[in-house]
Amino acid sequence: MRSRGLVGDMEELLYGFSVVLTLENFSYCLLGVLLGNLVGVLPGIGAVAAVSMLLPITYYLEPTSAVILLGGVYYGAEYGSSTAAILLNLPGSSSSAVTCLDGYQMCKQGRAGVALCITALASFVGGTLAIFLLMFLTPVMIKFAFSFTSAEYFAAILLALIAVGSITRGSPLKGIAMVGIGVLVGTIGLDIISGTSRFNFGIVQLYDGINVVAMAMGLFGVAEVIASIRATAGNSFVTKVTLRSLIPTGEDIRRSMMPTLRGFVIGGATGPVPGIGPTIASFASYATEKRIAKDPSRFGNGAIEGVAGPESANNAAAQAAFIPMLSLGIPGTPTTALILSALIVSGIDPGPRMMTEHPDIFWGVVASFWVGNILLLILNIPMVGLWVNILRIPYRLLYPLIISFVCIGVYSVNYSTFDVWLVLVIGAVGYVMRQFDFEPAPLLIGYILGPLLEVNFRRAMITSYGDFFAMFQRPISGTLLAVAAILLVVTLYSNFRRHKLPEKMQA
């Protein structure tokens, strides 16, 4: 391997820009952030649903374009979701739930414009700083990952799954149960090693397993729409956002500066950890800001720090979530898991070799993040009026269209009506689960990572001649397994000790 210093990285980055700034990839980037911003703004449809809707289309694209497009949707949604939170007190996605607290108060005080502007700026700063982190940390992780054998992969994936299960909003026990069910659903279909078909219940269409798109659309598209129909009925607002009202005062900017930087630190530190997505990063940032504030009572009454910090944190976390995915091939959030599956479908083996074998993907994607963040800044400050107007469209006109697109999207993957029936079943089950506080995200991640877990487990078993304890003797896999075990024990312990219901959050 070449030694890489700062200069080398810059050269690579320039190469990345040459990949993105072709007309084709630039258009995908623009399309991605536009769509992402749009679904982010609209309550009741999130990045996961949007990415899964686009998955069938990306099968026809170059892998680089596919990741640029899907990635754009992912972080674009983080920008957009705060708009609805500020104007409607209704988060466009869960990572902006905390922005409602002070953002909506600012809106009520007639400072909606300032809140929107600061949000966009904080998102930009958090996001772009996190790209630096991505650029410098991923190569380090990759070097580390080259020493990985299947035992280490098994341990790392297991740790990721346990983390995803334990760190949910609801009960960690339910989270782990969801991961387990996801893994089980993932075993449906062909067994990769022996080639036998499993759990197909005699249904021919299940021989290849359950389609990722059907799974994600059912859990996140259909179930989310059902849950949102009632929640969004009769929302309206009268706020006018003029360009002039966007301009923050010097005081606003000064107050937002440090929270934004701290938000980046929190988001950058939590983003790469599986299970801690943008949502938790934003909550952590809000809690931090409130704790260190001189006057905590201002929070909840339109404190600008409570908008800047979390928005910076969730964007930083969204970008940083790409680190484990691009270096190890292990995603930590549902959206990056879907992007990973898009890569697998296009024949790319996501993992440490990807950066050397397909530098165009890695550096192209990194450069596209820069381009995308700049586009989003333009989309969200001078063009914010557009999004405000889109929010005026009532949900009753939108959701039938969303459902139709879901249907067409799922059908077009294999031209199979069976997949649409699957979405129907998964959507119904997903909605019922949601109402019982079972989170869908761990299920989806379990489903995507399950087969990887199994393959690596069985390979590791083969190389160690069936000796389970060999895994604990290797230093890296041993450590990872130990961490996983500790996490599991701590989670279960606190779960049984608390025995109290998790704080009811407004969904």
Binding site: I229, Y395, H499
Partner: protein, 136 residues
């Protein structure tokens, strides 16, 4: 109580699932199945311990409307083609919201179906027929 029922459901569902076929391909699912059964029991136990049920009210109307609309789409697509399928899907799913108005829904159905035909069939070149003879 309902949570308890669900926990049972998960438990038994996965017990069923976890039954092995052969040692080779069946080994891993049994392991995972066992873990799910255990956590299912755990949820059951902690649900027994609390009187409160983490249960949000089910919204039957939207749920049924959406599910039926998916079914309508599939059936119509098979026998009549894309445009009727999208129209049917939009109309049935719109029934899920009580505030939907007739004219709005009809306009939406027409615009949505023609629009999706233009985007997916013409624009993206997917093989979807706008209209189709029965049995095609």
């Amino acid at each position: 109580m309902i949570a308890v029922g669900l926990a049972f459901l998960i438990g038994s569902y996965d017990l069923d699932f976890g039954s092995p076929e052969q040692m080779g391909p069946g080994f891993f699912p049994v392991l995972a199945g066992g873990i799910v059964v255990l956590t299912g029991l755990g949820i059951l136990l902690s649900a027994l311990g609390t009187a409160d049920i983490p249960f949000q009210k089910m919204e039957w109307r939207p749920m049924i409307a959406i599910i039926v609309s998916l079914a309508v789409f599939t059936i119509c697509l098979r026998y009549f083609g894309l445009i009727p399928a999208v129209m049917g899907c939009i109309i049935t799913s719109a029934l899920g919201d009580r505030t939907s108005r007739l004219y709005g829904v009809i306009i939406l159905a027409v615009v949505g179906s023609v629009g999706s035909w233009l985007i997916f069939s013409v624009g993206l070149g997917l093989t979807l027929y706008a209209f189709k003879g029965t049995g095609g």
